[in-house]
Each structure stands twice: as structure tokens, then as C-alpha cells.
């Protein structure tokens, strides 16, 4: 391991913690300031002190209760009387990962075929997919429900919808088209062609680096899409948790305060995990580019 890489990792992790604290404070501030008789006002009269108290409780895994259904919020739950935030997050992350892998793999493969092998059928498929991709995920939800008749629970179609919807696929496709056509003009690709060597062997490192640079923009989109999908089809995940413990109680009993402790726990973990994914991406980027230079 290079010492620079370790330094970068430590600095990046500190930055993540700092950013997570600031952004959770912003959310805390908004709820504290604008909601009368909020649950967060139980922590103190001053916003800063209240946030500090909430944070100390949070670090000690004392995450509070959900008032409406009288359940305890815990990181991991094994029974029905507790809400495990990370259980929901784990499922959302696995659906999102499946979607993102499907989108990246299919787009890379088809764009590779259409640019390097001049395949016209894959070009047509890409065009059609990118037109569908312009639709928001909510329209795809309606489409799946109306045309295909799927209304509740997990289905393979929802992974495909996550991979395609909300401009996800078309963003990847347009970026890769640009990148691949530039790659085609490179000297080392021309050399590989003249030797009769496999182009994939030479192009894959550049393609991988290109995919990593897109990561930042994709993670946020994929989280939003997955939450909406889970909300609509009642698939276990953060969207379903928000529906069950935050939105439905708030709509049916508006006189009760908002379940802000639950929301703060979920948003803290989501922000932390999104930023950690970005750090992992940065580390991978450094690792790939360093090993590329050594060769």
C-alpha cells in the first residue's frame, strides 16, 4: 500500500464524517425550526445543544421510538417489535446495486458492440432504450402496473425499471458513446487492431475508469428511484419503511408530531452510506490509475 493512498483514505473518511454531520444538522435544523411541538424539541431549547444531545444519543445507539406504532428504532432488528434501519437500508442497497450493475453492464456491452464492432442492431436497441430512459421512474411504475398487471411485491421488472428509468440509462449511454468514440481514435487501439489482438483487453481499463467517474451522479439517482419503486410496489426497503412509519401515520393522524427521530436516523445512515460509496469509488480510482502507471 502506498502511504499517499492511506493518507487520502484517512482524509476522505474525516471529510465524510464532517459532511454527514453538517448535512444531518441541516435536516435537524429545518425540522426543529419549522415544526411546532416537534419531537426534536425535547432535546433542548437551543438548536445546537439539541443537535449535540441527539448526536450523543445516536452514537450510543439510543435511536428513540416511533410513537405511532410504539416501536423501538434499532440498527439491526431480529424480531417484530423493533425497527431495524440497516435491515431496510441493506435491502434498498441490494436492489440499487442490482439495478446499477445491470445498467452499467448492458450499456457498456451494447455501446462496445456498436462502436467497435459497428453493430447496427445494438445501436437501434440503445436508441430505443435511451428514449424509454427519458421517462421518470413513476411513469414506469404506472406502466408496469397497468400493462403488466404487477401491483405488489418484488418482481424482476422493477430491477429493470431501476436500471432504465429517470434518465439513468441515457446518461450512461451518452457519456459512454462520447468516451468510446474517443477511445476508438487512440493509437494503442489502432495498434491492437493491426496486430489482430482483442480490443477488449486494451480498452477495458479505460472503460472501467470511465464508469467510476460516473458513479457520483448515479448513486443519488438510484437511491431516489429505488425509494419510489419500493413505495409504490410495497417492496421491503427504505421506501416501504417511510411509507409505513412516516407518511401513512402522518396522513392518517395529522395531530401527532412527525416521526422525526426515525427520519433523522434513516437520513443520517443514507447520507453516510452514499458518501462512503463515493469514497470507495475514489479509492478504486486511485488504485486503478496507480497500477496502470506502474505497468
Amino acid at each position: 500500500m502506498n502511504i499517499q493512498v492511506i493518507n487520502k483514505f484517512i482524509f476522505g473518511f474525516a471529510k465524510i464524517l464532517f459532511t454527514t454531520l453538517i448535512s444531518s444538522f441541516v435536516i435537524f435544523f429545518v425540522i426543529y425550526l419549522f415544526e411546532d411541538n416537534s419531537l426534536l424539541k425535547g432535546f433542548g431549547n437551543n438548536v445546537g445543544i439539541a443537535y449535540f444531545k441527539w448526536l450523543t444519543n445516536f452514537v450510543q445507539f439510543n435511536w428513540g421510538d416511533v410513537i405511532g406504532s410504539n416501536m423501538k428504532i434499532v440498527p439491526f432488528s431480529s424480531n417484530n417489535r423493533e425497527i431495524g434501519v440497516l435491515n431496510f437500508l441493506y435491502r434498498t442497497l441490494s436492489y440499487g446495486a442490482a439495478g446499477i450493475i445491470l445498467a452499467l453492464a448492458s450499456s457498456s456491452y451494447l455501446t462496445f458492440l456498436s462502436v467497435f464492432s459497428y453493430s447496427s442492431s445494438s445501436k437501434i436497441i440503445l436508441k430505443i432504450l435511451s428514449y424509454i430512459s427519458g421517462l421518470h421512474i413513476i411513469i414506469l411504475c404506472f406502466f408496469i402496473k397497468i400493462v403488466l398487471g404487477h401491483s405488489e411485491g418484488f418482481h424482476i421488472l422493477i430491477i429493470i425499471a431501476i436500471a432504465i428509468g429517470s434518465n439513468m440509462f441515457s446518461d450512461i449511454y451518452y457519456y459512454q458513446l462520447d468516451q468510446f468514440t474517443r477511445l476508438l481514435e487512440q493509437d494503442f487501439i489502432t495498434a491492437a487492431r493491426t496486430w489482430g489482438d482483442s480490443i477488449w483487453k486494451h480498452a477495458r481499463r479505460s472503460i472501467g475508469l470511465g464508469l467510476l467517474t460516473q458513479w457520483n451522479a448515479l448513486v443519488s439517482t438510484i437511491f431516489t428511484s429505488t425509494i419510489i419503486i419500493e413505495y409504490y410496489f410495497k417492496v421491503d426497503g427504505i421506501g416501504y419503511a417511510l411509507r409505513k412509519y412516516l407518511i401513512k401515520p402522518n396522513l392518517s393522524q395529522p395531530e401527532l408530531p412527525v416521526e422525526s427521530l426515525f427520519f433523522m436516523a434513516i437520513s443520517f445512515m443514507v447520507i453516510f452510506i452514499v458518501l462512503s460509496l463515493n469514497l470507495i469509488k475514489n479509492m478504486l480510482y486511485i488504485r486503478f490509475s496507480i497500477s496502470g502507471n506502474n505497468k
Partner: protein, 321 residues
């Protein structure tokens, strides 16, 4: 030939949506006279129009009035075309005045602030050359704004919008629902400014070494004119326009999502696309009391999304030519 066909069909579709959105100005709202109610609820028996009567264009004679119903009636007996027209109009207006304006102005301004350095780029160089204090403060301000924008960009948008919607619903309980929705969309526009700001920052960084910038500087042009005319107006206008179209559509979609979550408009006198979709989502085809006409708001939403995306793709081609 294909290009001409594409452009003319796009213009036709846009015109169709425009006509749909101003239809409710042309056909006046006659209030209760225009109400094709089920018998019994108003006391006065008006001729009953069947619920969701499948969009058959025709003339229905009321007790006193006579009117054209181009899309039939909804399940309460109201004119469907009128409601959809009102919904399209108010959705597009909300999206434009609520999200797009703040997005364009604030995004451009922040992009210029974080992107435009006059000559030196790092804090160390500024300190070594013993520059003015104001320059150093400006440099630090740039760093802080850049960092804040990166934080906002990293958080998933839906969480922030969701908490805004819930808190607005709680705290402004006595103001009108249209106003609440406008605030939510305004927050959405505010939170999506980093996207535009980073694009403009990158564009300015790319243009830094271009010859025309050096030439403009050498001819003694002021910084303001250099930025606003040479960079923003001639180089960044296509980026801004594309992003504005994108946010316009996304805000309409967000309004649908908010209505779908249950926080949208519920009052009788206002209409939006999201309200119509969530109202008719129980009578979509494939369900027990399903009717094909209930798809119509979704089709309109789909059409708006398609038109926006096609326009932005055409503009993208123009930009690369």
C-alpha cells in the same frame, strides 16, 4: 427529409399540449350550470352523464344547458377535458415559476462565483504574491460555496424534498395548498442548483486557456462583460437551456410524486396533473371498475416528458454541430 419530419412533428406535439393547456380559458367555467351531476346531490335533476363515459365525443343535453364534452365526463360528472386542461396549465406554470426560475438564476450565479478566477488559481499563489485581502476572502468564499454545493449534490434529493413537503404541510396548515406545493417545488429548484453550477464551472475552466478570452482581456474589457456576454451568453446558453428543460420536466414529475405520496392538492378548486393521476389511479384499466379513460392524465404526462426529452436531444445535436 427525416429531420424535417421529426422537427415538424415535435412542433405539432408542442402545439397540441399548448392548445390543451389554454382550452380552459376558451371554454368558460359555468360553475354549477356546467355540472353534470349524478341525480340527487344538487337537488336539481340534470340529465345524467354516465360515469367516465369513455371519451366519446358528443353533445349531452342538460336540463338547461347544452355543451360539447370532447373527452366525456369523469366519475363525478365534471367535464374531463376542462379538468385536464386546468391541470396541465397549473402544473406547467407551477413548475416554471416555482422551480425553473430560481434554478436558472441561482445556478448561473453560483456557477460563475465558484468557477471564475481572474488569474491565479490556488490560495498559496495568492498568499505568495501578497494579493489584496478582498481577493483572498473571495477565494475562501469560493471554496466554502463549492463545498456546500457538493454536500447538497451528495444527498439523495427525495429525502430532502420529502421532509420539506411534510414540514411545510405541518407548519403552514392554514395557507392554500397551491402555495404549499409551490414552496415544495421552489425548494426542489433550489436544491438542484448544484447541477447547473458545476456544469458552468467546468465550462469556464475549459474556456480559461482559449484565445478569445485572452484577446478580450487584452482589449481591456471588464470582468462582468467578459463573463456575462462572452462566456454565459455565447458559450453556456445551450447548457442552461437544456438543464432548464430537464428541471421543468422533473418538477412536473415531482409534483406527481408528491400527489402520489398523498401530500398534493386535495381542494376542489385547484387541479394539477398529479392530482388527476392519483384521483383516477383506483379506476385504471385492469382493475375491478377499470376504465381506459383513466389513463389519459398519465398519457399527457408521458407526452410532456417525451416532448421535453426530444427537444433537449435536438438541442444537443445542434450544440455539437
Amino acid at each position: 427529409m427525416i429531420y424535417k419530419f421529426k422537427i415538424s412533428s415535435l412542433i405539432l406535439l408542442t402545439f397540441l399540449i399548448f392548445v390543451l393547456s389554454i382550452y380552459h380559458f376558451i371554454s368558460p367555467d359555468l360553475g354549477d350550470n356546467y355540472f353534470y351531476d349524478v341525480p340527487g346531490s344538487t337537488g336539481k335533476l340534470i340529465r345524467w352523464a354516465p360515469p367516465l363515459n369513455s371519451g366519446y365525443p358528443g353533445i349531452f343535453e342538460g336540463g338547461f344547458e347544452k355543451a360539447n364534452l370532447y373527452l366525456g365526463t369523469d366519475n363525478k360528472g365534471n367535464d374531463f377535458a376542462f379538468r385536464i386542461s386546468k391541470g396541465v396549465f397549473s402544473s406547467t406554470m407551477l413548475s416554471f415559476w416555482g422551480s425553473v426560475l430560481v434554478f436558472v438564476f441561482l445556478g448561473t450565479l453560483l456557477g460563475i462565483i465558484i468557477g471564475f478566477n481572474r488569474t491565479k488559481t490556488t490560495l498559496k499563489e495568492l498568499l505568495d504574491h501578497k494579493e489584496d485581502v478582498s481577493r483572498i476572502v473571495y477565494h475562501l468564499l469560493q471554496g466554502i460555496i463549492d463545498y456546500i454545493l457538493q454536500i447538497i449534490n451528495a444527498i439523495p434529493m427525495l429525502l430532502l424534498v420529502l421532509i420539506t413537503v411534510i414540514v411545510v404541510e405541518k407548519s403552514l396548515y392554514d395557507s392554500s395548498q397551491l402555495f404549499k406545493l409551490a414552496i415544495s417545488l421552489f425548494v426542489y429548484g433550489l436544491l438542484s442548483t448544484p447541477k447547473l453550477a458545476f456544469l458552468i464551472k467546468d465550462k469556464i475552466k475549459n474556456l480559461e486557456d482559449e484565445e478569445f478570452i485572452d484577446a478580450a482581456r487584452a482589449s481591456g474589457i471588464s470582468d462582468q462583460k467578459l463573463v456575462f456576454t462572452h462566456i454565459i451568453r455565447y458559450e453556456c446558453s445551450s447548457i442552461i437551456f437544456l438543464q432548464a428543460i430537464n428541471i421543468f420536466i422533473q418538477a412536473i414529475m415531482l409534483e406527481t410524486v408528491i400527489a402520489f405520496l398523498g401530500y398534493g392538492i386535495r381542494q376542489q378548486k385547484y387541479e394539477t396533473i398529479g392530482k388527476l393521476i392519483s384521483e383516477f389511479s383506483d379506476s385504471l384499466p385492469g382493475q375491478v371498475m377499470g376504465n381506459p379513460m383513466a389513463i389519459f392524465p398519465i398519457v399527457i404526462l408521458l407526452l410532456i416528458a417525451f416532448i421535453g426529452n426530444l427537444w433537449s436531444k435536438e438541442l444537443l445535436d445542434v450544440q455539437y454541430e
